[in-house]
């Protein structure tokens, strides 16, 4: 069987698995966020928090909950790293420096998982398992909570109430992420992912000598790393490390875990909005972008243009034999079209166009299908923009799901869309103009510029993957990328919740003959077009200087 055909079959298998999980998982999540019953363990947690799970919150209160919880997350994770050297169970690893500890804390709380440290030689059991892996759960649950709050904004009327943040946070963790993680972790162990607390120990080698291995709770962290679209690897090589991703099957399973919640959330949305077709329209837009990007990536990587690859006879630099070109390309697209940022191959050594595709995937705003929660709310904001554009064309006040999209709503949507590009382009410009940041680049010319552009694209969009030749462990990059990650995560959430509050206060307008059918394929097409035009207009000049210049030269 040719590698291309095998790759196509793997994509097909992935589509089939995602389709099978779509209905049960989507419906389950809709029930979780609509239920009025509380599990016993949840009641204990609410008691410990001191929160009444039945209290409804308006958008400012919901936002305050998000920010207070996340602020404590940053502080706690920062302290854990700063005191690592004094904590038991740290394998004798030293405390992390302030700038790197800030960067890492911001990174994991913002669901980014950008890593300027080497996992296997910097972080012990306490920080990895008790700190970083916990944020993998809760930062994902926060993303889902905000997405659900936005959906409630569309479905509720003449109220400002969006639900209870603590309830949504706890339910997302306890009823969705934890059960899936337990099953997924054991599946990963069955394929060969390690799960132990052996720490640093000596293992014999073929030549009679020994090597020191760093053993830890890898499978339990790996599963939520991908399921929660986090992406921070236990080891430096991330999902390319054989202990994180041992074979082709574990690879496909990890890609499945990356995509399963973001896609299924469109079903949750349709279910909660009372029209499954509305969910399918969003799903169709996401899925067509994902499949299109996957096809493009396979094409450019199999074609392997570029001087070094033409001599080698294939683009295998930075890729593992067991995944090959196809398994690596599928993973690279899934990880950059969601906010995951885990890698099973190193994007910096992709072809010029291949590197560009990973960057463009993030620059779309990670909405195809996007991060857990953030993908859905990002795509819904784009849908608001799409109905607005359509409204301008026919000269009617735009509506979406029975809510009028007025000046106030479109301002929030516009602010949402402007945040990340402003962060990416301003920080990239500053880093390129200043003398020292550019010294961190590993490659000359256009690719060096791409390394910096990629870093801020990845940070501000909460992806976390890298053109990893860039030496990002400097005060400049630790600080600026840390700021980009926090602002890129929480400013958009402010606008999403404000939009949700504004929509929830409205009375519904009845659909008329002139209402745009947002459940139809035409709307899916319009949505894809809006996404591509907005992203293209924003990023084309920057992409032309980096990956396009490199790709066209080879």
């Amino acid at each position: 069987m040719s590698p291309v055909l095998a790759g196509a079959l793997q994509v097909l298998a992935l589509v089939a698995a995602l389709a099978l999980a779509y209905r049960p998982l989507g419906d389950h999540m809709a029930r979780v966020y609509s239920s009025t019953k509380h599990l016993r363990v949840e009641k204990w947690i609410y008691k410990a928090i001191g929160a009444d799970p039945a209290t409804e919150m308006r958008w400012p209160a919901y936002l305050r909950g998000v920010l207070a919880f996340s602020a404590m997350g940053v502080l706690f994770l920062y302290a854990l790293q700063r005191f690592q050297g004094a904590l038991p169970g740290s394998l004798g690893f030293a405390s992390i420096d302030p700038d790197q500890a800030f960067n890492t804390a911001a990174s994991f709380v913002a669901n980014t998982n950008w890593q300027s440290y080497y996992g296997e030689q910097a972080m012990g059991h306490v920080v990895q398992t008790g700190g970083l892996a916990v944020q993998n759960f809760v930062s994902a649950a926060v993303g889902m909570a905000v997405a659900v709050a936005l959906v409630r904004g569309f479905t509720r009327s003449r109220t400002g109430e969006l639900g209870n943040f603590w309830t949504d946070l706890v339910r997302g963790t306890v009823r969705i992420l934890l059960p899936l993680s337990v099953v997924g972790a054991l599946v990963l162990v069955a394929t060969g992912v390690i799960q132990n607390f052996s720490g640093i120990h000596e293992v014999g080698q073929f030549d009679g000598g020994g090597r020191q291995w760093n053993g830890g709770a890898v499978a339990s962290q790996e599963v939520i790393k991908v399921l929660g679209t986090n992406g921070g690897g236990y080891f430096n090589a991330n999902s390319a490390h054989p202990f994180e991703n041992p074979n082709g099957l574990s690879n496909l399973f990890e890609v499945f875990l990356i995509l399963v919640i973001p896609f299924a959330l469109t079903r949750t949305f349709g279910r909660m909005a009372g029209s499954l077709k509305q969910g399918y329209a969003i799903l169709a837009a996401m899925a067509s972008l994902w499949l299109g990007f996957t096809a493009l990536m396979m094409w450019t990587e199999f074609a392997h243009h570029g001087p070094a690859f033409e001599i080698a006879g294939g683009a295998m630099e930075g890729k593992e034999t067991r995944f090959g070109i196809a398994g690596s390309s599928v993973f690279a697209v899934a990880t950059t079209l969601t906010s995951t940022g885990a890698v099973n191959s190193f994007h910096s050594s992709y072809t010029g166009f291949g590197g560009g595709i990973t960057m463009l995937g993030m620059q779309l705003g990670e909405i195809a299908p996007g991060g857990v929660g953030s993908g859905l709310y990002g795509m819904l904001v784009m849908a608001v923009l799409a109905v607005f554009v359509a409204g301008l064309m026919v000269g009617r006040t735009p509506e979406y799901l029975g809510k009028k999209i007025g000046a106030r709503e479109i301002k929030f949507a516009a602010c949402y869309i402007l945040v990340t590009p402003a962060l990416v382009l301003c920080f990239t410009a500053a880093a390129t103009a200043l003398p020292t940041p550019a010294d961190s680049t590993a490659n000359p010319g256009a690719h060096g510029f791409s390394e910096i552009l990629y870093a801020y694209t990845s940070g501000a969009n909460n992806n976390g993957s890298a053109f990893a030749g860039l030496n990002a462990d400097t005060q400049w990059f630790n600080t600026t990328i840390g700021i980009a990650m926090l602002l890129g995560r929480f400013l958009p959430m402010v606008f999403v919740l404000a939009l949700a509050g504004s929509l929830a206060r409205q009375s519904p307008v009845p659909a008329t003959a002139g209402t745009l059918g947002t459940h139809r394929p035409l709307f899916s097409g319009l949505l894809v077009g809006t996404v591509l035009v907005v992203t293209g207009l924003t990023y084309f000049p920057a992409l032309a200087l980096g990956p396009l210049a490199e790709g066209l030269a080879s």
Binding site: M72, G204, F206, A219, S220, A237, G306, G318
Partner: protein
């Protein structure tokens, strides 16, 4: 003003308590439960898929190793030991920079771009070396037959596999160095060639440690009585 400061403090307190409870759940109970189940059901895999030969642990089935000659005085890069099958290059493997008290197994890629002269040089030199090392009298290696994985560094630097093409390319050399019939070595490679899982998942590959271990057992049959 006082009330708003009080409200903020109460909110942050709730945030901290929520974090601590969820840390106990997701950061302590969950990993312990998964570790317990993993150790009960899949102890070998959960502990790193160790391979034993002749009663000794020789590494992990999942982690690639180097098969080099001992370095001479003043020599920086070791020469490959041509008696054994050679793995892929691992030019991006990091060195202990943070915790120098350990000599940890590290992972990493070169991250060099296709148009970087450094990578062009690495690939060109690797290709020349593969052709030189594997050409035996009467059977020169055609550079066009060298597969891409033989001359490029993997993503982890710990790739345990090579492509079946690269394994077959090394058969005559290994047979010559080990004084074995070519057909016997070729058979060994065939036995250790794994196809795609379920016929379409992943890529065909040869596990270098498993292959070299089997080769050694062929060369030194049963050291133990």
């Amino acid at each position: 003003m006082n009330t708003s400061a009080g409200t903020t403090a109460r909110l942050l307190g709730a945030g901290l308590r929520a974090l601590l409870v969820l840390t106990a759940l997701c950061g302590v109970l969950y990993p312990l439960a998964v570790t317990g189940a993993a150790q009960a059901f899949f102890p070998g895999r959960a502990n790193g898929s160790e391979v034993t030969s002749d009663g000794e642990v020789v590494g992990s089935r999942l982690v690639g190793q180097r098969y080099d000659l001992p370095t001479a005085d003043g020599q920086e890069t070791p020469e490959p030991d041509l008696r054994w099958f050679q793995p892929r290059p691992s030019n991006g493997l990091g060195s202990n920079g943070v915790n120098t008290r350990y000599s940890l197994l590290l992972s990493g890629a070169t991250n060099l771009s296709a148009d970087n002269g450094e990578l062009v040089d690495q690939v060109t030199e690797a290709k020349e070396a593969v052709v030189r090392d594997n050409s035996v009298p009467g059977h020169p290696v055609d550079p066009a037959d060298v597969p891409a994985d033989a001359v490029t560094s993997s993503a982890s630097g710990l790739d345990p596999h090579i492509s079946p093409e690269y394994a077959r390319l090394q058969v005559r050399r290994v047979a010559a160095h080990d004084d074995l019939p070519v057909e016997r070595v070729a058979q060994l490679v065939r036995e250790h060639t794994e196809g795609r899982i379920l016929g379409f998942v992943g890529e065909p590959r040869v596990n270098v440690l498993a292959l070299n271990t089997a080769l050694r057992e062929l060369l030194e049959p049963a050291a133990t009585p």
